[in-house]
Symmetry: C3
Subunit: 287 residues, 3 copies
Amino acid sequence: MKKILLQLDTDSQPSVFDAVTAYDGGVDRILQHSSITPESAVPLVHGVMFTRGGDDLKNSAVFVGGSDVAAGEAVLDAVKGSFFGPVSNSVMLDSNGCNTTAAAAVAKIAGAVDLKGKKVVVLAGTGPVGLRAALFFSEEGANVTITSRSMAKAEKGCAQLKDRFDLTAQAAECKDAASVASALDGAVAVLATGAAGKMLLPESVWKGHATLKALGDLNAVPPSGIENIKPHWNAKDIDGQLIFGPIAIGGLKMKVQRSCVERLFSANDLVLDAREIYEVVKEFHKN
Amino acid sequence: MKKILLQLDTDSQPSVFDAVTAYDGGVDRILQHSSITPESAVPLVHGVMFTRGGDDLKNSAVFVGGSDVAAGEAVLDAVKGSFFGPVSNSVMLDSNGCNTTAAAAVAKIAGAVDLKGKKVVVLAGTGPVGLRAALFFSEEGANVTITSRSMAKAEKGCAQLKDRFDLTAQAAECKDAASVASALDGAVAVLATGAAGKMLLPESVWKGHATLKALGDLNAVPPSGIENIKPHWNAKDIDGQLIFGPIAIGGLKMKVQRSCVERLFSANDLVLDAREIYEVVKEFHKN
Amino acid sequence: MKKILLQLDTDSQPSVFDAVTAYDGGVDRILQHSSITPESAVPLVHGVMFTRGGDDLKNSAVFVGGSDVAAGEAVLDAVKGSFFGPVSNSVMLDSNGCNTTAAAAVAKIAGAVDLKGKKVVVLAGTGPVGLRAALFFSEEGANVTITSRSMAKAEKGCAQLKDRFDLTAQAAECKDAASVASALDGAVAVLATGAAGKMLLPESVWKGHATLKALGDLNAVPPSGIENIKPHWNAKDIDGQLIFGPIAIGGLKMKVQRSCVERLFSANDLVLDAREIYEVVKEFHKN
């Protein structure tokens, strides 16, 4: 029986990235659907729930993607709400790569430095990837600070973390080198999750920093988010500081995404969202 | 050479149910197209007609689906009109599951009781599934009555049967227990094809009914169309009456749909619509 | 690793013809996208560029199609502009079959008569197929004349040939039998690329013509573009003149298209547009 993945994408063109990755993760057939809303998702999910029975249910699964994470979360809720009793299919959310990218970045950094009880900063951390990174750092025992150019936005991000993941984080405003330096005071690790082509952390602040031991950057479009680092750096040692660029993190992200899709077909009741995907990357990154 | 199915769906999202069923019926590749009209169907059908020649034509076929049966019938006509001479592909219509569902229900009932020359009632039988069920009961030699809450609608349904299938059926108005009892007077079998969650046949009418030997219900959403029956009942014997719930009928429907799709690839000139699909279910249900 | 083709189609329904041909050319999976613009193409191309690395890049490729050749050319430019350095995928343009159809027609004619230094006429040659046929005839060493019902349109076609392919062609106005006869004076070959069902070349002009040795017609809808020929004629000898009808040319076109798609997966940096596709047909037609 063929492994069929129902790709529910909230954008007007379904993601090619997600489709290729799913095929490379062992999926036999993908049914691609675009412009998906919670309402339009339900009858499509019925189409996988009611076509295969019993143990065969696990050969169909659902992937929710698209560039808008909030839209994807609403579709995920609708998908989960469609199931009843034992009649369900496994489902994964990775809109905009939010879960797999954040998981890969945090796993890299957590493998480089002990985070337990330590301060970690997520720069420009109020977006979906930043908030998930904050969650994963917290799962590693770190005390997390998320920054934004506006204190109000940083505090709103903290409120979302509390609300969605029951997580307490600190907010900090970062407008210039001095306020970034202040936010990083005492931190052991930093992850830059800002917009493409936006430099967030000046070399004058990070280089030779007293406590900062691991640095990660997700911005692949020059200039880099962490000034003067290279995208392919993978635990590059600069005077005792280990640095991870977006291409190194992206390589792990890809493997994690493939592995998560593969796992969807091991049972008919998995929900792979933030925490579950971080568990996968941890197992995965160990080996 | 791969078996390619061209899925022409009149809805804005192509049916996942039909696609999974087609893959499970042995199709290698599906080309899914949505929002199909008779006009947009033609160049797509040319794409299967002109890419493979001679005996290879049978490795491409067309499936017409979507929730609107009338729209599907118009597309089917356009598909058939595209063919010329020996250059054709096999095609199947099953919009809203109308053919396979009605065929499965009637086959179950016809296997439970002899219908030849007997009265059979299709409750709320004016929709596409009900009308096809009436046709199939008639193929089994039954005298069919279709009911509606309005006599005018029931008579319109009879006119459609005459027009489309050259079939004479009786009309009856059913508004309450008394009128349902009256319509069922002397009937050997009944099939409820009403809206989801709509109870049509009270237990006080069917239980211990003098002539009624087989009962079928297509409504899977509680309350059931036939009061106090269970969806998974499959020829459940209640004091000599055999009862078929929607899940039991749905299981056969699925097998019929898979089998019909499989047959499409045995020749390049099959048209599987109502009567042809009922022939398939009869062969199938025997074995 | 599966061979994945990204089908970027500028029409609202992606071409079934192109998809079936690609599967028959050995592609394992097609990701079909419709209503593609240069803007919407870029993130989709990123989805093939960034999911597979190094030597694996050649297992993903891009096909640009649709009925509007100018729209397809704009998408092709956007696709090529997405690549950077060694990170690229092979891509083919065949909107409206322009390249493969013209290539097949010219290859047939060039195989039937020596064109070097000879006059060749493309009737109604100002459309995308006609202009590409003019290019390919020129690659065979012929002096090309393109005709139109209006001299202004014929001259505009010549300007496009100069602009796009740096090719000098002659313009001629053809309104009636006399002007067609005049345009064909001294020509060794002619190809009719006019609209469906439009007769362009009267039998009184072509039959027994003093110099005309090879004739091709792309119009499959009666009446034929060359009066009183048959669509399946394949080098049919009529008193020393060799005639190629649209079905004979179409058969070669199909093989060329399959072969081109197959070649896309031999490297990650091929661009198969007009000249490259004509090279393929020449190799192909020899064997």
